[in-house]
Symmetry: none
Subunit: 298 residues, 2 copies
């Protein structure tokens, strides 16, 4: 069981290593370096042959280049590139200092405490959620949410109900006919009466997918309702019936799954709705404000 290799404290980026070796290189090696840095680091992840072709040179020249830069093998070189890439994908701030040959060190997690790591995991989850989210899918869901002609129903499981409720409260501010399906399961059949076939149902279904939630969603789907599913990457069975799926990571160093990315996605949806509604939504909110202060509530 190989532990994730620790390449010692703070190795320099490959780009930097290349820069430092640059003046003791032969002409073709210089060309290779240039090709690598220009498409950094993609070409380095391909095979030696492909790399060579792009640099209009031969395999051995690539290998000599690699060893001169300081790697024991081409495999080691690729491993280093992947490591780098991984960090860069996870921390948007350190995005390009590799190529810039800047000396800002990459964040090094090893010294941080569990709390900080927990935070990092959450941040990474959010990042990943938005990275893997298809923009088309997102836009399509926003379109459904802003369509005030048809009713909107929201359903959540035991824990995800809180997130469902969150979405419900915000959407209620922004548009008419938003309905949260809540209360004990036994009352759900009644609530089904209010759902017509042109409506949309947003379902939150996360690990420990609840049979009652699944059943309800499937029945709705059969009834012709448009189904939007927000789930973890394991994906509930509902995926099969859903018209749109937004999946988010839930894993954190903890006994329980995290709902943070799910909430993040939910807020992104709300933000998207606000955006799309424009002044129309704004006016609605203002009207609501007035009503609230008038009634002296809160």
């Amino acid at each position: 069981m190989p532990l994730p290799q620790d390449d010692g404290p703070m190795r320099p980026t490959v780009a930097k290593m290349v820069h430092q070796t640059l003046d003791e290189m032969t002409p073709t090696e210089r060309r290779i370096a240039h090709i690598l840095l220009a498409s950094y680091p993609m070409v380095g992840l391909e095979t030696v042959a492909a790399f060579a072709e792009r640099a209009r040179t031969s395999g051995p020249s690539i290998l000599r280049f690699i060893t001169k830069v300081g790697f024991k093998s081409y495999a080691a070189f690729q491993r280093a590139l992947r490591e780098e890439l991984k960090e860069r994908l996870e921390s948007p701030l350190a995005r390009y200092d590799g190529v810039m040959a800047s000396d800002t060190p990459l964040p090094d997690d090893s010294g941080r405490d569990t709390l900080a790591r927990f935070g990092d995991a959450l941040a990474a989850n959010i990042r990943r959620a938005f990275d893997t989210l298809s923009r088309d899918e997102y836009e399509a869901v926003i379109a459904l949410l802003t369509d005030s002609k048809h009713a909107l129903h929201i359903l959540g499981g035991r824990f995800s109900r809180t997130t469902a409720s969150y979405l419900h409260m915000y959407l209620r501010e922004l548009r008419p006919i938003v309905h949260l399906i809540d209360g004990p399961t036994s009352t759900w059949p009644d609530q089904r009466l209010d759902v017509s076939k042109h409506d949309t149902l947003i379902v939150y279904d996360f690990r420990r997918y609840q049979p009652d939630v699944i059943r309800f969603a499937e029945q709705m789907a059969r009834q012709g309702v448009t189904l939007v599913l927000i789930t973890d990457i394991w994906n509930s069975q509902i995926t099969a019936h859903a018209h749109h799926v937004l999946s988010v990571p839930v894993e954190v160093p903890s006994a329980f799954d995290s709902g943070v990315a799910g909430l993040a996605m939910t807020e992104a949806l709300v933000a998207g709705v606000v955006d799309r509604l424009g002044s129309r939504g704004k006016r609605r909110i203002e009207r609501l404000e007035k009503l609230r202060t008038a009634s002296g509530e809160e």
Copy 2:
């Protein structure tokens, strides 16, 4: 000179292809999918053997997975991933072209779409929340939460109630006597009867600090209750009476404040409680599981 092969107009992302195939997959394949998506797309760039090991499975299973997703070979799969990655890396740098020659000192986000920026803001909020959190304060709150001798009460505002409810549900799994103060404000005085002076009250109070929440918290504090406040950095008036304050950033590029960091902090608390309780908490959860399956519920 081989042209860069064009795989037709706008092929879907690998992630999406995986999602679409997900429901016709076997358990092992699902696990593979999960591993891939969780570290997206880094494991996919490694060798089949490395990928297999990370997914605790065998090489052939990886290959079956790859073909089921829709790739002719592992090489084709990797090529697709690289293409994707390339686009993702290039888009924020479009204006950045002559990287080395450019004199712009720092890369910024202006090239990315609003969704990505939104995600960045959320991730940054979480990081800041944990960076500025005092470890002592955190530990002290955990101590209060794990103290099962005294009752615990949880209170939230209009929106933060969902987070309060989230905390409530998890803590209920982990310890006895946890009580969520909910329902309309008018019923709160009644619920106050259940609160004794050695209890702890967790209050969520965010911008648009609600008078009723503030009033309730203050009364409790006068009654001798230990007060824990979770709030945004602007801090509610309750700060004055609180024994412990955990503040989190709420700002995002959107019309509304974000509750994500608040939820993150909440989950960190739950994780801390689990940690502190150790096997004791574990046993309690197992007992609960049994009860639940026994009663046939969900």
